[in-house]
Symmetry: C2
Subunit: 298 residues, 2 copies
């Protein structure tokens, strides 16, 4: 009981669901204004290959989010057997189609397709996932471009909650090209949110516990359920949990539950701010995709 | 006297001058082989605008290095009064010229010219400085491209001396887009040299002294002469000093001397490996530019 009381006394939930709703309302208003002056609504296309359950869930959520804010959306669904050439043809057509402002190709792709070939074929000006090297480079150089959706969602969440970042020690756990590395770049930039002293930690890091204990802000993005435990963090830490691993759970109808990288129950007691999973970074990623698509339409 | 003895007992100089010579010899051999089978030598062009003394020194050194290894080089020199349009025309011509494998536009440019416009106009496949967003993004995503010359020189120097990097805590001091940020990206990658736990520190970092004291490897790139002193580092540290600031010095004929960011006399006593300034990172930067140009020619 004591720990429950402590949670409510000291900890604020970084509520990605509500924050994403707020952002979507702003986008909705802007779209309505654009349409009222005769402009067409922004148009996002999503390419989904094969029948990966998680991918289907994500793409469905993205398409639904488009409808909520008044975007047009197009779902292009193909069997897992599609060839790389056929998929490249779809990408080229999307690049050429002036009706499409931005599009995503949902990852992972079937193994016989080289994801890099697809990524490099995407027109950077329509790359609303922000994965193309040109957009990654622009982010690193602090130039206008599309920020990768999950890191963009993370910094937006920190901003909406007014989290202090300047001079704070931020430990990013995980160095993936779509989360860990880009968020480490964003949080060291000379802006707000930013100006953190950033440490990027990973599987080869020694004394990980003491590295995490020195963190004012932790971004956990390694995909290991409940990896970060209470003994690894200091009092008052800000925790952003990017993990979304499906863990078998017989008590659920689906047979699984979603687990973050952080042991929420233990860590939340010591946190000043913490994201839940689900309902934290996930909805913010989708909101960021919409922000990028709106930017592409402009 | 004691400290001098300690230097020679414990410290190894990361001799960029000698290492760069070794690399240049390898390049020279490869160029000679290419020429012997009828291929033309790699061709680097350098664009120099105005009469900045340091820029002239750098460009002269680059052209001289080309001659040493058997490259063809072309120096395009223009008055500071050149317009942005005229400079863009030169860049476009270099992009189109099949005889030029790679080129650099020496920075800084006069204030009336937007450096970003020039940078973005450079064909990424000829951007042997590795400054274009597409090359920066490829580096971040671990894809083949041109690495920025100074960070490339730093990791090559660590490699040539067989410095252990995996699991080491590397503190990068400074977050510039041409040195600090890219070297922080390179040293966290899952490769050798790399796999460091990297902390990027800068002007907004708190407790900088204790951050530096925790470092196994320090890359100092802030442009503040002799900023890093012996009390800030731990015994056995590896130190790479990227600073090259001109400090007034009446005892020199030139009226200045070159100072690094590290107080060499004090810090070298506690170091296992340390670069001198000059003769450390500077020559390695030029060697990297040659490596990139050779790669462009292939």
């Amino acid at each position: 009981m004591c720990s429950v009381i402590q949670i409510f006394e000291f900890m604020t939930l970084l509520d990605g669901l509500t924050t994403a709703q707020t952002i979507k309302k702003r986008i909705q208003t802007e779209v309505a204004e654009r349409v009222s002056v005769g402009k067409r609504p922004p148009h996002l296309a999503a390419v989904l290959v094969g029948d990966n359950g998680a991918s289907q869930t994500y793409v469905t959520a993205k398409v639904k989010a488009c409808e909520e804010v008044g975007f047009k959306s197009t779902l292009i669904q193909r069997e897992a057997e599609i060839t790389e050439q056929e998929l490249l043809k779809i990408v080229h057509d999307l690049n050429e189609n002036p009706e499409i402002d931005g599009y995503i190709v949902q990852l992972p792709l079937p193994k016989h397709i080289n994801e890099l070939h697809i990524l490099l074929a995407i027109d950077p000006s329509k790359d609303v996932d922000g994965f193309h090297p040109e957009n990654v480079g622009k982010m690193a150089l602090n130039l206008p471009g599309f920020l990768p959706a999950t890191p963009y969602g993370i910094i937006t969440l920190l901003k909406e909650y007014g989290i202090e970042t300047e001079g704070k020690h931020c430990v990013v756990l995980g160095r993936s090209s779509i989360v860990g590395l880009p968020v480490s770049i964003l949080l060291q930039r000379n802006t707000y949110p930013g100006n953190c002293t950033v440490t990027i930690a990973h599987s080869k890091t020694k004394n990980l516990k003491s590295v995490l204990q020195s963190a004012d802000i932790i971004i956990a993005a390694i995909g290991k359920p409940a990896f970060v435990t209470a003994d690894m963090v200091k009092e008052g830490v800000v925790v952003v949990d990017v993990g979304i691993t499906r863990v078998p759970d017989d008590s659920r109808k689906s047979g699984f539950r979603i687990s973050g990288d952080v042991d929420f129950q233990g860590v939340s007691v010591k946190s000043s701010f913490i994201t839940p999973v689900p309902g934290g970074v996930g909805p913010m990623t989708i909101a960021s995709l919409l922000l990028n698509t709106l930017q592409a339409a402009k």
